[in-house]
Amino acid sequence: MITAERKPLEELIEFIRPYKRILLLGCNECVTVCAAGGRKEVGLLASGLQMALLKSGSNIEIRQHTLERQCDPEYVEELVPMLDGAEAIMSMACGCGVQQLAGRFRDKPVFPAVNTKFMGASERQGVWAERCQGCGNCLLGVTGGICPIARCAKQLMNGPCGGSTGGHCEISDDVDCVWQLIWDRLKALGQTERYLDIMPAKDWRPAGGSGPRKIIREDLAE
């Protein structure tokens, strides 16, 4: 999923200070799963903002809503009747959702309420970690199902650097050395000889090196 973390309240207050009526919009997809911008977080943030603004003597009307998917134009269309009177929108979706709104409602300011972080997975309750960088040409089939692009601090494709210690990355004891993980996995699979294959210099074009990426499925596109 795409993970996100809520921005500090102070930053959000500055966004909305000029307005009297805003729409605060959650998303029921990834940001709900990582507890950053779902229905529950929309409610909490709305009261947080209102209280903070009341303290400084201003009053704001915050309408709350959560869309099934903010990155999907079909759902975004639902907002049309709700936007009457709203001077601005604050989105709790990832950057994709924010941009979808900005593209659809050209006369309304749209503000992000979260910082979109990375594509990750849940390690345990309340902990998410980066797993994929969307490089566009998946290597997992030759690296034991563990990604050195997303999980090595130096994106090394041919083995661990000289800083791997006791299974940890040199940048922090909290970060696993991904090449230790890959090596352990290759051992478990009986594929250690695979390590000797040199992975050639990567073509970064599918990773975004050739500009913004797009997928066009002729069979589906209208």
Binding site: K154, M157, G163, S164, E170, I171, Y195, L196, I198, A201
Partner: protein, 307 residues
């Protein structure tokens, strides 16, 4: 011979090679480079010139290598993949060779986290092994990494680093094999304090015949003080400084510690000379270049052979 590199000539002639290093200054101070290089004149066969070592901005490795070359010494041009993409690296290699630099070391580089610009983007377009491949193809096939033909191929003697002390240990011989397969002509190892562990690594290296496929220069570092020994033992990722070394440094009064550090370094070199497959030494006297001559003298590595 693949190149005109003096280091290659020394090694090919079967002499124990000696290299040392010089960290460029953090400012436009060319005399500082000359001063450091002066201590190494006639003492070593090539001088490693670090590339923004520990991710701190310094005079470029290319510029400092050129100054050293102008002084009549042999720079060993270090290049990391941290700060530059493949276009910039290839451009620098061609530029270096055009300026008479014929020996280089391919590295991934310390992470920016450790330096003075932790907010900077790490490039890592290619890794050190891919860099070795790229330089070899530039030299032997006369092509750029992108495949186009290159006129005036840079005849670089290609070095790589190896750290026998990092984990997983059992992978470290294979990692060396991979660097050699990519095209490494010589290897400089991480500083060796744990000689026993290095010997175990070399057993694995010899078992695969890798010492016959490339020259292995054993890295050593003199501890200048007890503090330096403790720092390397605790703070430097991938360094293995046994407690016995720290204790030995602690056993002498402060004013004798530098002397003790040199004695340990010389003893280490003597012990490493007995290890089959060690083709020379890389003496890393960090910010202590003036001591290298004394170490070489005491270790019987002077005078340097003429080739």
């Amino acid at each position: 011979m693949k190149t005109e590199s003096r280091l290659e000539k020394i090694l090919a002639a079967g002499h124990l090679a000696v290299t040392s290093e010089c960290g460029p200054p953090r400012g436009a101070l060319p005399d500082k480079v000359r001063e450091k290089a002066k201590y190494l004149k006639g003492v070593v066969d090539a001088i490693n010139v670090t590339d923004n070592q520990t991710a701190m901005v310094r005079m470029s490795s290319l510029a400092a290598s050129t100054i050293i070359k102008q002084e009549g010494l042999n720079p060993l041009f270090q290049v990391t993949s941290r700060d530059r993409n493949r276009l910039a690296i290839q451009a620098d290699i061609i530029g270096a060779y055009a300026l008479g630099i014929d020996t280089m070391l391919c590295l991934s580089g310390d992470h920016t986290k450790f330096g003075d610009h932790p907010m900077a983007m790490n490039v890592h377009d290619i890794d050190s092994i891919q860099m070795i491949q790229m330089v070899r193809d530039m030299r032997d096939k006369g092509i750029f990494q992108g495949g186009a033909e290159l006129k005036g191929a840079p005849k670089m003697f290609i070095g790589a680093a190896a750290n026998p002390f990092a984990d997983p240990f059992e992978l470290r011989v294979m990692r060396l094999a991979k660097k050699i397969a990519a095209g490494a002509d010589f290897i400089q190892t991480q500083c060796i304090f744990n000689v026993e562990k290095f010997e175990r690594w070399m057993d694995g290296v010899r078992a695969k015949g890798l010492h016959k496929k490339c020259y292995i220069l054993a890295g050593v570092t003199p501890c200048k003080s007890l503090g330096a020994a403790r720092y390397m033992a605790k703070k430097v990722p991938g360094m293995d400084v046994p407690q016995a070394i720290v204790d030995r440094m602690a056993s002498v009064p402060k004013e004798k510690q530098a002397e003790e550090g040199v004695a340990i370094c010389v003893e280490t070199i003597e012990r490493l000379k007995q290890v089959e497959g060690v083709a020379g030494f890389h003496i890393m006297a960090i910010e202590w270049e003036e001591i290298v001559k004394e170490i070489c003298e005491k270790a019987g590595l002077l005078p340097r052979p003429q080739v």
